[in-house]
């Protein structure tokens, strides 16, 4: 369960290593470790969930569901194969996206704004998200480190928009097409090429700099 054998150089103060140990202890049913894991990660995961599902009450339910799943799935976590935050974030994003599908199926609208300030109009739906950075800004900020910088930079403007709307706001192909006022097939094609380009670029970067990145 623990990855300590494969990562002897990491001190215990390394945040990732500490999270790995917490998840390992959660897998053993230790509630104190579960509480510490929640303390350490819930704000980050709540941020992820709220980005995708801005409905506060639903987001709280999703976060609750996420940690129930974490408690039950901790035994399946393999520290040698996934960074703890990557694992947790994946659980959070899938939970949030599933909740979104249920919410929209009930006829709730979606709130979309590509940039923080929208277009300056008075659409109340846009004001809801006006204080937070838009998905494109998040993408630029995320690209502020390591190999992702160059790889995101190499995407076209349309590809960036598609990736940002899908990743940060959990939009489907159809919703992105609606948002960008583009045919569905065009959007699918942009996204597919964007993902391929990211993969090629990041794979090449990883080959040049071996070792697991955070």
């Amino acid at each position: 369960m623990q990855a300590s054998a494969s990562t002897p150089a990491r001190p215990d103060t390394d945040p990732s290593s500490a999270l790995e140990q917490l998840i390992g202890r959660v897998a053993l049913g230790q509630r104190a470790a579960f509480s510490a894991l929640y303390e350490a990660t819930s704000a980050q995961l709540f941020g992820v969930v709220l980005r995708i599902n801005p409905d506060r009450a639903q987001a709280e339910d999703v976060l609750q569901e996420i940690y129930v799943n974490v408690w039950r799935a901790a035994g399946g976590y393999d520290a040698a194969r996934a960074q703890p935050m990557t694992w947790l974030t994946s659980i959070a994003r899938h939970g949030a996206i599933d909740s979104l599908r249920r919410g929209r199926a009930r006829g709730q609208g979606m709130t979309v704004s590509l940039t923080a300030q929208g277009d300056g109009d008075d659409d109340p739906a846009e004001r809801l998200v006006s204080d937070a950075p838009g998905p494109l800004e998040l993408l630029q900020q995320a690209a502020g480190a390591r190999a992702v910088t160059r790889c995101v930079g190499e995407l076209s403007a349309e590809q960036k928009q598609c990736i940002a709307l899908a990743y940060y706001q959990g939009l489907s192909h159809a919703e992105i097409a609606q948002q960008l006022v583009q045919p569905l097939g065009t959007v699918k094609s942009w996204l597919r090429r964007a993902l391929l380009a990211l993969k090629d670029c990041l794979t090449a970067a990883a080959a040049r700099a071996p070792g697991r990145e955070g």
């Binding site: 509630r31 709540f46 990041l202």
Partner: protein, 230 residues
């Protein structure tokens, strides 16, 4: 859909991780993951690739009330299969029934302060909030001052089939309930037992197979409960 082709598997994994794989396709993909190591590898690689994107999302501290909700959901209730779960919930149940709580408090005072000469002690066995309304029942138990005799009278008896009996239980503060015997649903039952009140925190009535619980512990629904001491 052919998941065996590596390029298609990789594309689906990418769309799944990004979040754009939706609906039936997404559910099919999730269902296939456990049996397809190659798909899982592709998913993990895409999770690694896209993970840095989450770093720019600002953390939002969830409300303080959320953690207790998670704890209650995971640990707050006894497992449904645990045979003794119902009487461990007595403390919670007690708080919700003020009238019985008052009666129990008065009873406790009687038991503690008047050991020598006591009038009969009356205990109301109320409905158990944990069972469906159709089988709820109420009883009144009168305990003799000597602690050896008990008369149980049905007020609202539960519906019983011919193959069922009612059984009365003494519930200790800790440990398993002990049977006080079979009681009638249609008339008062008088029981004579030594030490009826000793180590007894509550009385309970359960529905059992005809003749009583075969195991010595309650097996059927607890239809009525009355707490004896706080």
């Amino acid at each position: 859909m052919d998941y065996g082709r590596p390029d298609r598997a990789d594309r689906l994994a990418a769309e799944y991780v990004l979040g754009t794989l939706r609906g039936p396709a997404r559910r099919r993909f999730v269902a296939l993951l456990p049996g397809h190591p190659a798909l899982r590898d592709a998913v993990r690689q895409w999770q690694d690739r896209l993970a840095p994107l989450a770093a720019s999302i600002e953390p939002v501290t969830p409300p303080a009330a959320l953690w207790p909700r998670i704890e209650a959901r995971l640990f707050g209730t006894e497992p449904a299969a645990a045979p003794l779960a119902w009487w461990r919930r007595l403390a919670l149940w007690q708080g919700a029934t003020g009238l019985t709580a008052l009666a129990a408090a008065m009873l406790l005072a009687l038991v503690l302060q008047q050991p020598a000469v006591q009038p009969p002690i009356v205990i109301v066995l109320g409905v158990n909030p944990d069972v469906p309304q159709t089988v709820q029942a109420r009883f009144v138990a009168s305990l003799g001052a000597d602690g050896r005799s008990l008369v149980l009278e049905p007020i609202d008896p539960p519906p019983l089939e011919a193959t069922q009996s009612l059984e009365l239980w003494a519930v200790p503060p800790a440990g398993a309930p002990r049977s006080l015997g079979i009681v009638r649903a249609d008339a008062a039952t008088t029981l004579l037992r030594a030490q009826l009140l000793s180590d007894t925190a509550a009385l309970a009535v359960s529905i059992e197979p005809a003749g009583g619980s075969p195991s010595g512990a309650p097996t059927g629904p607890i239809v009525s409960l009355g707490k004896l001491a706080l």
